[in-house]
Subunit: 332 residues, 2 copies
């Protein structure tokens, strides 16, 4: 029996989200940047966790969230990422496999525990993330399965891992395999801090490897050195065949190298509960649509729909079938 | 500094809930009784978990959920229960302490992992529970801190642990301490299966030790051998100073040994999402009210309010401040 084709395979952080409500004073007292993501070590993770409210644990990780959404859209996804051989690692593996996602990366032995992202959600639904990468940072080229990458239309990498040298090698290795077989490589910039620290290296990397670039407006401004959307579009066209810039409630722009910019409207949920995973959901809809050969407006609209479902509840994984939602909106 | 007085100290299962949506076919194919609770071993836990949908992890345990609700009502609670020295154990401990609950029971060494309750929620919001007790079943008289029990108005035991011999000894030990100091002992019957298997032993135990008995209508029928509420009330008065019988959307009855039965109305939430923890929330409101010396109608109404909040969302721990809700309803 031939293994199935994959719409998208993600390479990213295999981490479990620990979500709790918090107020701004808590963020300030623990030096957690509002709305951002910081990497923390185990000691600081213990310290922040000890002060957090009672929490909920849900499997997370940016690219993994996107792959979960692609599965929920009816797509077929794969994931490459590193958990430890522990309880949280088992939870992470279960939750992806339960959605039908291929996830076969061997767990890390004799290293740190499975990573976790401590997410404090303030009353305005904004999430502020403190990530202890743990085992997740150890994903390496050895974990890249060539035959699996070859079965995927798109290989998708999250920028959060870009500062982990072995993980970056894993993505370069996966990209090389994908490109050699005429497949596409996608990258989400993930975090403005990563972009600020790595702008030059990232630009080189994107120019050499990436077909589809995803960024929010802050990340795009940091990468291209301007928040003028016309300048961003011009520079994006030089850098990458397709760039998506997300702009929260203002929607998103799809910037193809050839052709006009496509404006995609945001879909605002009835109630905004928790913005964790909004970008991951958008990426999922867009990449799923592109993998299936949909038009840019249709692929972008599925992205908006997925993001809208994700921010309507606590946690970054879909709480209902995105396929059913998309069908109801005549997007599938 | 003198340690604070406690409204209620719970003795119960220290377990983490693993909640996922399921259909009736899944329950049937895994021999999971609809709406009930079964104890399963580690192998069966692996088998059921492998088939479950992507899940959410939230600290659980019946008495622990009640204590969490009491803390959310503004009360002071303590908990005695056994986790392992592992990631889920750390999560369980964190979530109680984050609410201000005293929880000092030493973790189990060299035994099974922290227990978990696999909860499959069907589209009608009914929960069906498959519990791997793990370390939770090892709570013992050695874990009962006499000075801590002495500080509590009410010592509260969950019936789920009644079939674990060492755990039952722990409760008998705690009861003896409480009674010797003029404090009250409460028991929730937890599960109709436990009552059916243990009716005679339970009756003796209640008659000798318990001041406040909580049961749903099925459990009360199993214990008293009749589903006629008048017969139940008559027998309950003979057995126990105060009995509460919960009847889902029909509300509850408070049956004092002396005086009339008090009927308490249910509070129906706008949307019923997941009945996990409804009884735990009711018990919390009632026991909190009794610990504070409120009237039976007021204590019962707080129970209805807490249950209503719990079933309005996924998971058995409160998602918002029960104190604020109770104040808004002029119940506090």
């Amino acid at each position: 029996m031939t293994a199935p084709q994959l719409d998208v395979i993600g390479v990213g952080n295999a981490i479990v989200d620990v979500l709790a409500k918090a107020d701004d004073a808590f963020l300030a007292s623990h030096d957690i940047p509002r709305g951002g993501m910081i990497l923390i070590d185990e000691d600081r993770a213990r310290d922040i966790y000890a002060g957090m409210a009672a929490a909920v644990e849900i499997s997370g990780g940016s690219a993994a969230n996107s792959i979960a959404c692609i599965a929920s859209l009816g797509g077929k996804g794969g994931f490459i990422g590193k958990v430890a051989d522990d309880e949280l690692g088992e939870i992470f593996r279960h939750d992806l496999r339960a959605l039908g996602v291929e996830f076969n990366t061997a767990p890390l032995k004799d290293g740190p525990e499975t990573g976790r992202c401590l997410i404090n959600v303030t009353p305005d639904a904004q999430r502020s993330m403190s990530t202890f990468l743990g085992a997740a940072g150890y994903v390496s080229p050895d974990d890249v399965d060539e035959t699996q990458i070859n079965r995927a239309q798109i290989t998708f990498f999250e920028g959060y891992l870009f500062e982990q040298p072995i993980a970056r090698e894993a993505f370069i290795s996966a990209c090389a395999i994908a490109k050699a077989n005429g497949k596409s490589a996608a990258l989400t910039l993930s975090d403005v801090g990563v972009v600020e620290r790595q702008a030059a290296v990232l630009t080189d990397f994107i120019s050499g490897h990436v077909d589809i670039l995803l960024a929010n407006d802050d990340e795009a401004a940091a990468l291209f050195g301007s928040d003028d959307l016309n300048i961003i579009a011009e520079k994006a066209r030089q850098l990458c065949p397709l760039t998506a810039v997300t702009r929260s409630e203002k929607g998103s722009l799809l910037i193809p190298r050839e052709g006009d910019v496509v404006e995609i409207e945001a879909i605002n949920p009835d109630a905004l509960e928790d913005t964790t995973g909004a970008g991951d959901g958008y990426a999922a809809g867009l990449l799923f649509g592109l993998a299936r050969g949909f038009s840019l407006p249709q692929a972008g609209a599925i992205g908006s729909l997925a993001a809208s479902e994700i921010i309507s509840h606590f946690g970054a994984r879909p709480a209902q079938s995105l396929k059913a939602l998309a069908e109801k909106s005549d997007l599938l």
